[in-house]
């Protein structure tokens, strides 16, 4: 039986001979990243509920300044303001010349977002899910022209390693936040303890570390650039460790993304409701 004539080189948008549900994966990426972007945008501009006791949400860390309205809202001697100042790098409120829309998160969130945006894994994933370039393997694209990362604007993605340098510092700062999240105020005394929040924030550091230290750029800088790794045993060992994380880079990327959102959600929830989470003393 003969079928109508077709040509192999004619591409209609989203045309494919694939019979599987090829759209599920890009759709899942679209929804997952889309949800995160919406939530993160809301939290960044909310400018509040980011600290509870010694817990600071990773969305606002490093906290350069505390918001201008904090001393008035909570009282200058309140626990919240004291803890916030303790976390704040400059130990002061936001300078008055900075407009109100610029929350402490706006000042720093460009770094983790830029890191993820330029990550090799996410690039491949969002080019498919958000730009249909291609929608999925062997599925035709809706546009004819293509420049890829060969020229402006996407050639800028090559900046990724600079975001990596910042991200490594941020992982260190988040680890320090976990240390701070081990010390609680109890009747005017500072006591060591582990709260559910502490565990959540520590989990965030582990997952973010797994993601950051499995970065392709780091893998290259540590050992990939060297052809004779046998002559550089320390670099070789580091390269092997990074390669090991790198093999699961996609998994680390998603786990750390979900966990960072969960950490923020947890801190926000207890900050809004004033719940005391379970702490071991």
């Amino acid at each position: 039986m003969q079928q109508p004539e077709l040509t192999l080189t004619e591409h209609r948008p989203f045309q494919t001979q694939r019979k599987d549900t090829w759209w599920v994966q890009p759709m899942a990426v679209f929804l997952g990243l889309g949800l995160f972007i919406v939530y993160a945008t809301f939290r960044v501009f909310e400018g509040n509920h980011f600290i509870h006791g010694p817990y600071l949400t990773p969305f606002y860390s490093p906290l350069l300044f505390i918001p201008k309205h904090f001393p008035e809202l909570f009282g200058p001697e309140s626990d919240t303001v004291r803890h916030a100042l303790n976390h704040s790098v400059f130990r002061s409120t936001m300078p008055s010349w900075i407009p109100g829309i610029i929350t402490p998160a706006v000042l720093i969130l460009w770094a983790p977002l830029g890191f993820r945006f330029t990550c090799y894994y996410y690039r491949g994933a969002y080019y498919k899910a958000f730009w249909a370039d291609p929608p999925s393997c062997t599925v035709s694209e809706p546009r004819k022209g293509y420049r890829g990362e060969h020229s402006f604007p996407l050639v800028v993605q090559n900046i990724h390693r600079y975001f990596l340098y910042v991200a490594i510092v941020i992982v260190g700062i988040l680890a320090y936040d976990v240390w701070k999240a081990l010390w609680f105020d109890v009747n005017g005394e500072t006591k060591f303890g582990i709260g559910i929040g502490t565990i959540i924030l520590a989990g965030n550091v582990v997952l973010l570390g797994g993601y950051t230290f499995g970065c392709h750029s780091l893998r290259h800088l540590v050992g990939g650039v060297v052809d004779l790794l046998s002559k550089a045993p320390i670099r070789r060992n580091m390269y092997n460790c990074i390669s090991c994380l790198n093999q699961r880079h996609m998994l680390w990327a998603w786990m750390s993304l979900c966990w960072v959102g969960l950490s923020d959600f947890y801190v926000r929830t207890i900050a809004v409701t004033g719940w005391q989470d379970y702490i071991t003393f």
């Binding site: 192999l8 694209e141 890829g148 090559n158 650039v225 790198n246």
Partner: protein
């Protein structure tokens, strides 16, 4: 015996259509077996290229249900046989007839690439000494059977037809095997950035998914080469460092 329908692309560059063939299938058969049975019993003029029937010569590359595959390694029991199985030639290359495409562009690309350029021999007898682990690093690239399925799936070639500006994943694997070779002295980064168009790759990893030799094309060849290109051309600190160290 169970029957299945194969919707096979028949024709040449000027005129072509899908033709449905129903044939008997049995356990253990691969798509190439079914195509051969159709060729023997119903369509003696059906063109299909094959050689080893063992997934090692890379001749029988085609598309099965829209996925680039070796016909000889695609088992029928992995396909839904209640609907017609589509068998087409690779779309990234000019069609010759039926399932056979002209892949000669690939060999021309290879000819243009800077060849292996070893350092002077280490020993008087003209041999070199290398550490096994330095060779292990590039060993997987040598598994390539030049089936060109990765070239076929790559949207830069298949969809955008940038054959003049982009060498495709197969040749990034080849370039990586040379660039990372412990005794090679050549520098191919300028070519990789400009003529070879490595920047066109947008890391969708489709090539890695289809490689029958399971070469980690994107993560182990393309991204490391992209990073080397960044070192040489885009990283301002590395550039500054090179200026001072030279």
């Amino acid at each position: 015996m169970e029957k299945a329908t194969f919707r096979i692309w028949r024709g040449d560059a000027n005129e072509a259509q899908y033709v449905d063939y129903e044939t008997e299938v049995s356990e253990g058969m691969v798509v190439l077996d079914a195509v051969h049975r159709i060729q023997a019993e119903q369509a003696n003029d059906l063109a299909v290229r094959w050689n080893c029937k063992a997934g090692k010569c890379g001749s029988c590359s085609a598309e099965v249900n829209g996925n680039p595959k070796l016909l000889c390694m695609t088992r029928l029991n992995d396909l839904p046989l209640d609907q017609p199985v589509t068998v087409e030639p690779m779309r990234a290359f000019p069609i010759i007839k039926d399932l056979v495409t002209d892949v000669s562009w690939n060999f021309k690309v290879k000819e243009k690439m800077k060849p292996f350029t070893p350092r002077p021999p280490d020993e008087e007898d003209g041999t070199w000494r290398m550490e096994q682990e330095d060779i292990d690093h590039i060993q997987e690239f040598r598994k390539c059977i030049e089936c060109f399925l990765c070239q076929d799936v790559c949207h830069v070639l298949r969809e955008h037809d940038l054959h003049d500006e982009f060498i495709g994943p197969r040749f990034f694997v080849y370039a990586a095997s040379l660039e990372m070779h412990p005794i090679d002295t050549e520098n191919r980064l300028e070519e990789l950035k400009n003529q070879d168009g490595i920047g066109y790759c947008n890391i969708t990893k489709c090539c890695t998914k289809v490689c029958p030799e399971h070469i980690t094309i994107t993560d182990n060849a393309i991204i490391p080469l992209k990073e080397r290109v960044v070192d040489q051309f885009y990283d301002p600190i590395k550039r500054l460092f090179r200026v001072f160290s030279s």
